[in-house]
Structure formats: C-alpha cells, structure tokens
Amino acid sequence: MAEQWDAIIVGSGAGGGTAAHVLTKRGWNVLVLERGQAKTAEDFLPFDELHFWGHKSLIPHITSDPMVYIDPTGKRVLSERWWEVNAVGGSTMIWDANFPRYTDEDFAVKQYMKDVPNSDDMVDWPWTYDEFIPYFEKAEWDWCVSGDAQRSEERMRPGYQYPMPPLKPHASTDFLVSAFTSARLKPYFGARAINSEDYDSRPACPFCGFCQLFGCAVNCRSNSANTVLRSAVSTGRCEVRTSHYVTRVDFERGKNGSSGKVKGVICVTRPGGPEIFLAAPRVIVSVQTIQSARLFLLSQIPDADKLIGHFLTYHTKGEAHFTFKAKPVWDKGPAYQPKTAVGSLQLRGMYTYADKDGVRRKGGKFSVYDPYTCITPLHLIKSASLGKLRTNLWGKDLVEYLHELRSQGGVSVSFTGEAISKYENRVELDDQVKDPWGVPVARTYYRHDKWDQDLSRLALDTVSDAVTNAGGELRRYEAQGEANPGYGHVHGALRAGKDPAKSVLDENCQSHSVKGLYVLDAAFMPTAGASNPSITLIANAYRVCETM
C-alpha cells in the first residue's frame, strides 16, 4: 500500500501534536514520528517521588544520552536534560502547564533595550501580538485552559474568557494578593492547562501534588497526547509511529547547493537498526529547541550565513523562598490544599519597569508558590536553606528548617525574565559523545549577559522587599548566574525573520534554504521573551499550520 502523507511531523509534543490537530482538521493526512513510547496516566501510578523524580525515570539518562555544555571557563560538562521527555507527548508530559502569553512587550522588545550594552542582537519579532491573539484563543480552548481572562494582567480581547474558571485558591491567596497589590506587583490568576472542573472527558484536578516534573496520573493536566494528538488521531488522518528516531531530514539540493526542497526523513527504529526513508512534501520538526537545531545540523541544512544553532536563549531565572513568623502554616487540613502553584498566582508588575533614570526596561514575571504545599518533600528538603548563607542544611539546622515549614506559612517565587540574545550562545554537534543510537549529541555554549544577572537580582530584591514588608523573612535566594548548563525555557537557535541573511526560518517558520521544511517548537523565537514559552509556541503552531 502506497503511504502518502501531506506532512511528516517529527515529534509528538506541544508543537507536533498541535500541527497534527490543525492539519488533520484541514483534511490533510499526517504521519507523526516519535522517538519514545506511548504512556498512559496509569504509568504514573503508584505516586512516588523517589521513583519518578529522585531516580529520574522520565528523562534521558545523563550516563548514556546527555547534552554537552561548554561553560564560561571553557570546561566541558555533561548536562542532564531534565526538561526533555522522549515519549508520546514529549515534555508536555511533565510540565507545570503554566500558560501565560507572550504579549506586546515580547513581540516588540527593542524599544526597552536602547543603550543597553551587548543588546544589538535583540530584534523585534516580525509579527505583532494582535496578529497572534486569535491563535492564542484557539490554543487555550483546545488545550483546556482554566483561569479568569477578564482579570488577567495580560492584554486580552474584551469579553474573551477561558473554557474553565480558575483553580481553587490556596489558603495563602488573600494574604499574598493583598501584599503584592500594595507593592504594585500586579498579582493575578494566570492561565493553567489544568482542569478546574470535569472537562473534555477528563476529571478535575484533585491536587495530588505530583505536578511539575511528574506525569499526571489523573489525566487532569493537559498534554499533547490527551488533547490535540487525541483529536488528530480520531479523524483517521493521523498515524503516530513510536520508536521512530529521525536522524536527518532528506532534501534535494538546488543547483547552487545553497538551497533545496524537502523529500522526507531518514529514521531508525532501534540502535544499530537500518535507516528507513519516509517521503513527504513537507517535514515539520518540533523536538525541542536544542534538538531541532541539532537535527538541522545533522541534516546539513544549507547555512551560508552560519546562523543555525546560534542565538540560543534561556530565560533569565531566579528563585526566592520566605517564611512568615506571624502566620501559621497554610495547610491546616483536612481539606486538600491546591498543590498546583497556589491557584496559579502570577505577578506581572515587573514585566516592564522604570530604571533609575526613568527609562522603561524589559523585565519579567513571577509564578508564586507555597513551598510546603506545592513542592514535593525530597525536592524541597534536599535544598533546605535558612538564609543566603545557610544552605544545604543538616543536623540542628535541618530540624529547625523542618519545624518552620510545618508550623509557619511561607511563600516562594520563581522569576522568568528576558535574556540578551548572543550569537555565541549556540548549539553544535559534539565531536566526542554519541547517543545510544550512535548519533552525535548536542553541545551548547552559553553565558548569561551581566544584564540578565542584574535583572534577576533586581526582580528578586523587588519581590523580597514586598514580602518582608508583609512580615516575611528570606530563606532561599538564587539569582541567575553567568553559566547555564540547560533549562526548560529554551528558545532560539533557529531564529525566524524576514531577512534570509539574518534568520534561519521565514515568517511562516519555513526554512529559508530548504522549501517544505518547517520548525514548530520554540526554536523559531527571535528573542527569549519573558513568559513561560509553551502557549506562545503552541499559538504559533496554529498560526503556521492554518495557512501552510
């Protein structure tokens, strides 16, 4: 039987699943190739932090399938890809399902970077937030988002609402909203792709506490497999093949060698197995920023301007924990506390901010948690800390920390901020280490600019002031350092843009040099932006696939 597909989709995660859904709705036949296996909710039972998180059973093993990182001193380090899942659904199987949108300030960032040293490579995106709004809305409805769009600090179309109301607020919510409002940090309930009620034939979240970094055993948190891919497969026009590892994109070179047209993909189904060629007029790659760039390098996609892999970005991050001596522990029981991000509290007051000269600068946003209810115990207690200089606690100090956790209310904040794009931050193919299939692994070079590090400290200090004014005491403070061996908020490396001399992909995320080759994960992003990337990369996939 002749197998004829309108597109081959490499990767079954956020971008790949969305592509399959949109294209099959348009009547296309698609083939989705996934390196890993299918997982069901039941695979994540029984609940167990040690097995799933401690023993890293959901992510590639650093001993056999690492990434190489060259740190700022030039030292070679093996990096564990804790944010990558090789399974149907990809990293959506372990994400926190945090869905804030990139907005005007992300699409047009240059205005905030005037006279910032080393910021010449920051560019405006070739689209506007307004152009993306309809696609955000489609994405939020298909991916089953809960929240209150009418009270969002992200600019929304008037009258728009998410399919489900917000998750149950945490016991700390009223107090924290009041404290953050007084400090003008703009608290609001952000969008989550988690059921706040029974919806889409899946149950409401019971707040089991096994959320970020765990698979969802309840099937209440959205992933590619239980939303868009499920819908694509049900049309009868989408086939998913597991154990199919695409090792290169096959294309016909043009006369001058600097351009081409896609023919299909080469894949293997087991280490040492024979190469299989699968043909299609379009190939859509979506295997996570660094891996997509790696696939372009393995495929030797023509790259006259030496851009493939360059302008890799990680978000600037920062984390701080606090305790409130005057507040009893939030979780008095017996009712379940919502263990998913304190009912999704977000802070947007520093998305842009006025610097000391009154100039408007780009910043970032915070997710707010209660460490005691939201972070599983091994994870929380291994990083036990009673202040900036009292870390990795043991003995009496550890007991003091535990007493505090179980008797006093706390709060923790996680910062996601803009980062300066640098040409030298990049992905290459390593010349020494190969993965279990014999394919060279990715090697990254990355340093955060001083601007990133200063922003992280400024953001953490601003929140720290607000929390201490409300009676909090600092317990943990981790600002962005220069090195970054890897992080889940990863974008760039296959920059999209109008000018073929300055970008790898065009405005429709098609390769400038190989026709029919598209990229739909976050590798297309011209700059880092300052929100969790997921819903924006998904919205982009809708945008590209509706007119492909």
Partner: protein
C-alpha cells in the same frame, strides 16, 4: 503501573549499616519534639537501596563503591581523632567529624571535593530514608510524613517511644 523492584544482592555489612545509622541520626537528629532518622529507620532504606542495581537507578553501582571506601576512610579518621568507631562517638564528636567532612577538611581521603561529594550523597540518602514513601524501607509507618504533615495537613505532634 511501575513496579517496585525487590532488592536482590545485600551489600552493606552489619558494621557499615551501624555507621550509616549513626551518620544519618546526626544529619536528621530526633528529639522529644521531632522524629529523626533512627525513628524513621533511614539506614534500612539505604541497606535496601544499595542491594538494588542500575536497573532501578544508574548511580546505584557507583554509590556502592563510594560507601565502601567512604565509610572505611571515615572510620579510620574517627579512630584517629577519638579512638572509637563512628557509631560510638558522642553527639558533638560526630557533629564535628561530619562538619569536617562536609568542608573537605579531613585527612585520609583522596581530596576535598571527594569528601564534599560523599557528604552530599550521605545527606541526600538520609533525607530519602526519612521522606520517601515507606515502600522503600525508610520512613517507617510514615512516621516522618505524619509529623511533617505530608501528603496533607495537619502536621501531627511527635510522641517518642518511651524507653522500656
């Protein structure tokens, strides 16, 4: 469902386990107001963990070597400083020994980084022995969880067993 792999090959000797027990109690000491590593049976956890192999977790074979060498070197330092094995040290002596290990300041080890790494792994395993699911052999009867207030509050007061 994933399946808990039953351990197959015992590794820690009874003497090694006694030393681990003492080290763990120093890392998470019990008192009249909180259960500690001994109450949790955290050393039972490590005994079972090291009887497993890389099919559960790829670092287990490396840890076996680490504990065999590390416990031996620590024991020699305990005798050198105090004339007694680790499990017979007084509480402040053991605290001092562990503090030196965590700083990389002891003699008789390959280097400072080796000590810091060993300490970090011992500390991590103590926490696992106390806070992981009882199926792994530690956190006996969920005693640490109950006091901590996991998986749901309220945290319960600690009632130490009275001496017989």
């Amino acid at each position: 469902m994933w399946t808990y792999k039953r351990p197959s090959g015992p590794f820690l000797t009874p003497n090694e386990k006694k030393q681990v027990s003492a080290l763990f109690e120093a890392i998470l000491p019990g008192s009249s107001t909180n259960p500690g590593a001994t109450d949790a049976g955290a050393a039972d956890y490590l005994e079972l963990l090291l009887a497993m192999d890389e099919s559960e977790y790829y670092e287990i074979p490396k840890w076996k070597l680490l504990y065999r060498d590390g416990l031996d070197m620590l024991s020699k330092q305990s005798f050198a400083k105090y004339g007694r094995p680790v499990d017979e040290l007084k509480s402040d002596e053991l605290t001092n020994l562990l503090a030196a290990l965590s700083d990389g300041a002891l003699q008789g080890f390959p280097n400072a980084d080796w000590q810091k790494n060993f300490f970090s792994i011992v500390r991590g395993h103590c926490i696992e022995g106390c806070f992981s699911d009882p199926r792994w052999g530690g956190n006996h009867k969920g005693v640490i969880w109950a006091w901590y207030g996991y998986p749901n509050g309220p945290s319960r007061p600690w009632k130490p067993k009275t001496e017989a």
